[in-house]
Each structure stands twice: as structure tokens, then as C-alpha cells.
Symmetry: C2
Subunit: 296 residues, 2 copies
């Protein structure tokens, strides 16, 4: 049995970030400083960590970034007013409203309020629609766009492959399906979307050439669900109790990595797989937004 090849998300993300940094340099040579604003509502610990990581990469790449923080008690109107102000600010090329939002704020209302041209998260219905329609002028959501880059830059043949996606969420599963079944040399996969109501999820997994796990269930994908040689991408981020870990819990993916690695043709580690790609694609989207806004 071949030992699985790791898909090194950190290395690929770093390669993409190098390309993005060059585009930042080119923009600055023309007097344009790409600007990205993070909006965080409340003090959710995971959100603080995510925004912090994204801020750090922004500054590494020369993207001017800023974080606006509203209290947990902020109203939808207050958040909409902030978004409107950022929409109107020509120095801001990208706006990212960090999820999750407090329960009293409707995410769809907020995502629809961000100008599509500044929606570097790719969550505005216009951008979702363009992705589905195959219109290249929109922004793709960062995580599935990052998974595609991982596959392409690892030399995975997607065209004609059987791709099975576990999960039908708006952030990963559904856009991932739209991306992989596109009419494109870098796609053209036969895509199956599985979810909690799928009858025999194991048999679908076993016929996958490319298996993308985005269910949000810790270690859901076990060795008996993977065809030898398949490419396995683990998008999951699940917090599980672990008395031995710092803080009593730790993060695990949707794939039982130790068991699946020896069988898989290629596999993403987790962490170090999809996670860094999400940030890299966010930066790429931001620089593209700045280029488009300034006529590059």
C-alpha cells in the first residue's frame, strides 16, 4: 500500500501569497494601497483568533488592514450603517464581516449589504449566483476556491474524476460542487453532494477519486470509506474535548487522518491543509478587488 502523499497547504498558500505580494507591489507602484477591513461583532474567541491570523497575513503582504469591532449588543442597523460607511470608502477594497454573528443579526441581510465589488468573502448572492452561472467576474468563497488551488497545484487530475463532497453548507459544500462541475479543464468532475440525509454515504465515499469532507463531524471519514489512491481533502474544524490538551479541548478535522493517510493517494493534513489556503485566497480576492476598483 503506498504511503499517502501530503498536500502541503502551508507551502501552497505561501506560494500564492508570494504571487499576491507581487501584485501588491505593482499596485503600490501605481499609487494604490490595497485596503481590507475586518468587521467583528462581539468577542467570540474563535473569531478573534481568525481575524488576528488574517490581519497578520495582510500586513505580511503589504495589504493595509483594519479591524472594526462592534459590541455583542450592536443592532443590525448599527452593523448595516458600518457596512454602508465602508462601502462608500474608496480606500477600502475588501470588507469581511466575520461569522458567526450574534443571533439577533441576520447574516443574509448583512452579506447582501456588502457591495459585491468589495465582497472578498464571496458570500453576496450576486457573487454566489455568478459562481453558479460560470461567470468569472464574481468573487468565489475563499475555502472552496482554496481547495481547488490545492488540487490543481498538487497535480490532481480533476477532469473526469468522481468527486464526492460531504456537506451542503453555503460556505463550502455547495460552492465546492459548483466549482468542481464547471465546464473547465481545471474542473469537469462528476460531482455528488452527500449530506445528513444521504442513504448510504459510505458507498458514495468509496467510489470517490476526490473526497472532500466538510460535514463538521469529527473524524467522520474512516479508512473503510476511502478508495485506495483517492485524494482526500479535510475541510473540517471541530472542537472536541480532550482533558490532556491545553484548555481541555482541541481541534480535529472531519477525517481520521492516521487511519486514512496510508490508503489515500494524496491527503491534506489538518491543520496545515485547507486552513492556510482560505486566508491565501482571501488575500488574492482583496488584491483582485483593488485591481478591479482601480482599473488594473
Amino acid at each position: 500500500m503506498p504511503v499517502a502523499n501530503l498536500i502541503d497547504g502551508r507551502a501552497i498558500a505561501s506560494q500564492i501569497q508570494g504571487e499576491t505580494a507581487q501584485r501588491v507591489t505593482a499596485l503600490k507602484a501605481r499609487g494604490v494601497e490595497p485596503g481590507l477591513v475586518f468587521v467583528r461583532v462581539g468577542e467570540d474567541p474563535a473569531s478573534r483568533v481568525y481575524v488576528g491570523m488574517k490581519e497578520k497575513v495582510s500586513s505580511q503582504l503589504g495589504i493595509r488592514s483594519e479591524t472594526k469591532i462592534l459590541p455583542e449588543s450592536a443592532t443590525e442597523e448599527q452593523l448595516l450603517a458600518l457596512v454602508a460607511q465602508l462601502n462608500a470608502d474608496s480606500r477600502v477594497h475588501g470588507i469581511l464581516v466575520q461569522a458567526p454573528l450574534p443571533r439577533h443579526i441576520r447574516e443574509t441581510v448583512i452579506y447582501s449589504a456588502v457591495l459585491p465589488e468589495k465582497d472578498v468573502d464571496g458570500f453576496h448572492p450576486v457573487n454566489v449566483g455568478k459562481l453558479m452561472l460560470g461567470d468569472p467576474n464574481g468573487f468565489w468563497p475563499c475555502t472552496p476556491a482554496g481547495v481547488l488551488e490545492l488540487l490543481v497545484r498538487s497535480g490532481v487530475k480533476i477532469e473526469g474524476a468522481e468527486a464526492v463532497i460531504l456537506g451542503r453548507g453555503n460556505i463550502v459544500g455547495k460552492p465546492m460542487a459548483a466549482i468542481l462541475c464547471q465546464k473547465s479543464k481545471q474542473a469537469n468532475a462528476t460531482v455528488t453532494i452527500c449530506h445528513s440525509q444521504t442513504r448510504d454515504i459510505k458507498s458514495h465515499c468509496r467510489r470517490a477519486d476526490i473526497l472532500i469532507a466538510a460535514m463538521g463531524v469529527a473524524k467522520f471519514v474512516t479508512a473503510d470509506m476511502v478508495k485506495p489512491g483517492a485524494v482526500v481533502v479535510d475541510v473540517g474544524v471541530n472542537r472536541v474535548n480532550d482533558p490532556a490538551a491545553k484548555g481541555g479541548s482541541r481541534l480535529v478535522g472531519d477525517v481520521d487522518f492516521e487511519a486514512v493517510q496510508p490508503i489515500a493517494g494524496k491527503i491534506t493534513p489538518n491543520p496545515g491543509g485547507v486552513g492556510p489556503m482560505t486566508i491565501a485566497m482571501l488575500m488574492q480576492n482583496t488584491v483582485r478587488a483593488a485591481e478591479l476598483a482601480t482599473g488594473s
Copy 2:
């Protein structure tokens, strides 16, 4: 072998039209006359037939309809000006720009110009995005919405079913996939999207509980591709040469009906299956647009 049950698209469409006519009556009682405008560019014979059929059903249901005709030589700007005028006209609740448009006019530009609230065809990126995001506030494209109604009103159990869709077009295949995999009691299918680059399309078809053919290839689905008892929906409309037919050609579906009918659990005839549903859903969308525009 059981004889297949026909799914009578004409009867189901007529049922839906009866419901729509009642909503028209209710609107008129409030002084609102629902209005639908068809825009046709050039004299494509199929487009003339389609628009004529839609006009006829509109008038049967009490929907005021009108057809604006531009010459084949009309520019994109002229068409955009007409759309803008219709967008601004409060008596117009629905706008349908009949495809195909002449080659010098970009369909995506035109579809994006129709106000989403009047986009009863469901082709505007905002409506496509809302469909994909599971946001019920948009308009669904008429053909896949009609297929869902056919299945639901024929008592087909969609939840947990294996649905295989042949074709990944923007009008049927992709939105059909989004509809069937939704988190809803009337959906929740496991969806596979097959297309021209699919490796072993026959084996996918053979595992389908619900097989939806929208490839645009005459009689593509043969008996050996259908699992006994499966529900087969034929969306195809293909013109084939037939010296014996009037005009030397006739229309056939994507399914070899004679061969598949004896095997299928349920099957749509073609014509008389999906076609009438597309028009019924257009009327339903139009009345809904009128209701929403007038605060019903």
C-alpha cells in the same frame, strides 16, 4: 415488469394554473392587475412559438401580457433601454427576455439588467445566488421549479433518494441540483451531476432513484441505463430530422420513451411532461411578483 405510470404534466400544470388563477382573482379584487411583458429579439421560429404559448396561458389566467419585439439587428444598448423602461413601469410585474438572443447581445448582461423583483425567469445572478443559498425570497428558474412540482405532486419520495441529473446547464441542470439537495422535506436528495466529461455515465444512471435528463441529446437515456422502478423526468427538447414529419423534422426528448417506459416506476411523457410545467411556473412567479410588489 410493472408498466410505468405516466406523470401527466398537462394535468399537474393545469392544477397549478387553477391555483394561480385564484391568486389573480384575489389581486384584481384589490385593484391589482398582474402584468407580464415578453421581450423577443428577432424572428427565431421556436421563440415565436414559445412566446405565443406563454401569451395564451397568461390571458387564460387573467394576467395582462404584452410582447415587445425588437429587430434581429437591435443593439445591446437598445435592448437595455427597453429593459430599463420596463423595470421602471409599475404596471409591469414580470419581464421575460426570450432566449436565445442574437449573438451580438450578451445574455448575462441582459439578464443582470432585469430588476431581480421582476425576474420571473429566475436568471438574474441575485436570484440564482438566493436559490443556491437556500434563501426563499428569490425567484427560481421555471423549468427546474416545475420538475420539483411534478415530483412532489406525483407523490415521489425525494428525501434520501439518489437523484442523478444529466446536464449542467444554467437553465436546468445546475439549478435542479441546487433545488434537490436543499435541506427541506421536499428535497434532501443525494444529488449527482453528470455531463459530457463524466467517465461512466451509464453506471450513474443505473443507480438513480430519480433520473433527470437535461443533456440536450436525442434519446440519450436508453433502457439499459434505468434502474427498474426509477422515476424518469425528460427535460430534453431536441429537433431531429424526420422526412415523414411535417417540415421534415420533429421534436424528441432526451429519453428513449418507448424503451424506458416499461421499466420506469414513473416517467414524464415528452411532450406533455415538463413543458407545460415551465409555463405554469412562469405564471406562478409572475403572480408572486405582483403580490410582492403590491404588498400582498
